[in-house]
């Protein structure tokens, strides 16, 4: 058997739990939630990284669908948009019951694996989605959201982002209360996108394992979206998982530098650097023609995993591709069919079947189950918090 065949065989038994996929936002932007117009039961490779046939080909067994909304949405506008994103996921699940199984718990994930369906969970990307309300946090949980990234690209009032200037210096008192309330509900605390100071504050506060839904190693590639070693070192004690991401501009140093120049070019032309409209992409392509884009590969991502394994240990790794949330993808990981290539690369590097089963499936499922256990304990001792930012951060 070639490594690729072995990888596919392994994924049949222990499929990939992917921490982050932005299909809902892509559907919002491309067809304003007209999910019949982008039928993911059929091939959508002309428009999307993701559809059901390709998820199947890629060996995906569980997906955290991101209910991301832009971090420049102010206050309750973010809440409204997040509800629409959640509704989108619910519509997708209702439309494709034979392939996508709604999952709220670790047990649901295992049931989906046994049934051969793709466990579908939701993750909110940024604390702006709760507009400083713990009641709204609980509403998101009740609607099925099982992780919340504490920030997106911008600081919020109670937490610092990795890609913004220092604000409250990590988590504020209210930010720590948000983490405690997430623990009490059983919602995973996601530390992708947050500043290292926020990561450390969250680890000091949380009673449950944390996740990084889509982040790689800062020691391998120095980008603020990645995880510093001192934080990775704390994962064994915390029990959490760092789910490696593939986004070239985070994982490949040459791509980091190239992206900085490309972003500057976008701003010079009057566009936001994350703008993906046709006009913005035209400017981007022109830049790319005169400045060839450095290409990340499967090996680039495997380098991150090798290092993260050394620092955090095999029990604390996972995968979060960020498909449909990034314009570019590494060679060999071009869309959701790519996971077997990564597994094959790791097999070639001597990773065992047991190791790989942990990476793809077991670690992530364990973490969600652990968060449920912590929530059960906490609910026995305290009621829901209605603390406000004004009270705690005054």
């Amino acid at each position: 058997m070639t490594s690729l065949e072995t990888a596919r065989d392994l994924l049949r038994e222990f499929p990939v739990v992917d921490g982050h996929n932005d299909l809902p936002w892509a559907l919002r932007e491309q067809v304003r939630y007209d999910i019949a117009a982008r039928d993911i039961a059929a091939d959508q490779s002309a428009h999307l990284h993701t559809d059901i046939p390709r998820l199947r080909a890629g060996g995906v067994g569980a997906q955290f669908w991101s209910v991301y909304v832009r971090s420049d949405y102010a206050g309750d506008q973010a809440v409204s948009a997040t509800l629409e994103q959640i509704d989108c996921v619910r519509q997708l699940l209702a439309r494709h019951p034979a392939d996508l199984r709604p999952a709220l718990t670790a047990a649901d994930m295992e049931a989906a694996r046994a049934e051969g369906r793709i466990a579908s969970l939701m993750g909110a990307e940024g604390g702006h989605s709760i507009a400083e309300s713990l009641a709204t946090l609980r509403a998101l949980y009740a609607l099925g959201v099982r992780y919340m990234t504490l920030t997106h690209n911008d600081n919020i009032a109670w937490a610092d982002s990795a890609t913004d200037e220092p604000g409250v210096g990590g988590l504020s008192a209210f930010g720590r209360e948000v983490v405690r309330e997430m623990n009490r509900e059983g919602m995973l605390v996601d530390l992708s996108h947050v500043a290292a100071t926020t990561m450390r504050d969250a680890l000091d506060t949380t009673a449950a394992p944390v996740i990084f839904s889509h982040s790689s190693s800062r020691a391998v590639c120095d980008h603020p979206r990645n995880i510093p070693d001192d934080v990775l070192e704390r994962l064994p004690a915390n029990g959490g998982v760092a789910m490696v991401t593939f986004v070239p501009k985070f994982v490949l140093q040459a791509a980091v530098d190239w992206t900085a120049a490309a972003d500057e070019n976008m701003r010079a032309h009057g566009f936001h650097h994350l703008d993906t409209t046709a006009e913005a992409m035209k400017v981007h392509r022109a830049f790319e023609e005169s400045n060839p884009r450095p290409v990340a590969t499967v090996a680039t991502v495997a380098d991150h995993l090798d290092h993260m394994r050394e620092v955090a240990g095999i029990d604390h790794l996972g995968i979060g591709g960020d498909y449909d949330g990034t314009a570019f993808t590494p060679e060999g990981l071009n869309d959701v069919t790519g996971y077997p290539n990564l597994i094959a690369e790791l097999l070639d590097r001597g990773w065992s079947r047991t190791d790989l089963a942990k990476l793809t499936w077991r670690n992530a499922v364990r973490v969600l189950g652990a968060a449920e256990d912590v929530a059960r304990d906490l609910q026995a001792t305290r009621g829901p918090s209605n603390a406000t930012l004004a009270e705690l951060d005054a």
């Binding site: 309750d76 506008q77 809440v79 409204s80 509800l83 959640i86 009641a135 709204t136 009740a142 009621g383």
Partner: protein, 370 residues
């Protein structure tokens, strides 16, 4: 004074009528047991057919309280578990109150806060309250000796003009929405988007509440809705000119559409006495029909209530008055419980039917209303 004395005498209870002790004794003792008997019959009837109350303002009344205990009794509000039991309240629509003038996205977040409060309070009182939406579970909760809480109505602004948000609110338990105060349900009736909202509500099983809506909205909603519509707090305008009360023609129209007019127990809308409330019930029953009249306590909303109906424990006194007026037990059973059950059953059926025929709507207000 003279008139009062004359009235008392006319009823045969003149206490100084010593020369005729036999005559004086009979009306006295005979009247007392009669009232007590009516109250006993009312309680027995309500034990079998409890009240499904169309409107509670409890979530607003509880919000400023730092601590409360509905299980043992809470004097700061009109509603708690002991008084719900005494009043024989088997189901309660729990309104999601928004501060006046709140619009847009702010209203969405505030509605989530209110839904969270309802869920939290209900969960904290498992022996007295339980969330339920569909008719079967509502009956089960009532059989278990608890009060079924149905979250709603919420204000139409709670949707942020988005059908996706409507579906999320339904997912969080919302059972009724008041169609007023938004661009798509105003004085001129329902716009195309407004009708689409109503169709999506029908598909989900969210009841339309038309109390306070303009007459054109009421008529159009009656025509478009596949499920019975509610007026969760409307009395008869012919008897009391309150803007939320329904004129006779709309009461007739509501009856023709098999909707439900839930009469509020507030001094402002129905009057200061039990008899005033009963007058409204008589009037609504006469115009809309016995199938189409219900009760709405409207407690904890800040409204003043008729004498003897100061809190949720007062329903037996109201039912005793209806018995005195010779309402049949069947009509009373429908008024208190049966009509709401019918509406929930029909809404449930309509939702199942609609889900077979219609996909969730992706229409937007810009698509339909420009």
């Amino acid at each position: 004074m003279a008139e009062l004395k004359y009235d008392a005498g006319a009823e045969g209870g003149a206490t100084d009528d010593l020369p005729a002790p036999v005559i004086g004794e009979h009306p006295g003792p005979a009247r007392e047991p009669a009232a007590a008997d009516l109250l006993a019959r009312a309680r027995a009837l309500l034990d079998a057919h409890p009240v499904a109350d169309g409107h509670s303002g409890l979530s607003r009344a509880l919000r400023p309280l730092s601590w409360f205990d509905l299980e043992l009794g809470e004097s700061a509000v009109d509603t708690d578990v002991p008084r719900l039991r005494e009043g024989r309240v088997g189901a309660l629509f729990w309104a999601l109150h928004l501060p006046d003038g709140m619009t847009g996205d702010r209203a969405v977040g505030a509605t989530l806060d209110q839904l969270d409060l309802v869920r939290t309070v209900v969960r904290a009182h498992p022996d007295g309250l339980r969330l339920a939406g569909a008719p079967g579970p509502v009956t089960d909760v009532r059989h278990s000796g608890r009060t079924a809480v149905l979250p709603g109505p919420a204000a139409a602004v709670a949707l942020g003009d988005s059908l996706g948000i409507l579906r999320c609110l339904h997912g969080l338990g919302l059972r009724a929405l008041t169609l007023t105060g938004v661009s798509w349900a105003g004085e001129t009736g329902l716009t195309r988007f407004g009708e689409e909202v109503l169709r999506e509500m029908n598909r989900l099983g969210v009841l339309a509440d038309l109390s306070g809506a303009g007459p054109d909205t009421v008529r159009r909603a009656c025509a478009v809705s596949k499920a019975p519509v509610l007026c969760t707090r409307s009395a008869a305008r012919a008897l009391r000119p309150h803007p939320a009360n329904l004129p006779d023609d709309l009461l007739t129209a509501l009856g023709a559409a098999k909707g439900l007019c839930m009469v509020p127990l507030t001094a402002e809308q129905t009057g200061p006495s039990v008899r005033d409330v009963a007058d409204h019930l008589d009037h609504v029953r006469a115009l809309a029909g016995a199938d189409c009249v219900g009760l709405s306590g409207t407690y904890d909303t800040g409204s003043a209530h008729p004498q003897d109906l100061a809190d949720v424990s007062g329903y037996p006194r109201l039912v005793a008055e209806l018995l005195r007026r010779d309402w049949s037990e069947t009509d009373i059973a429908q008024l208190t419980w049966g009509n709401v059950q019918r509406v929930l059953r029909e809404a449930d059926f309509a939702a199942r039917e609609a889900q077979r025929r219609r996909a969730p709507s992706t229409a937007t207000i810009t698509d339909l209303d420009g």
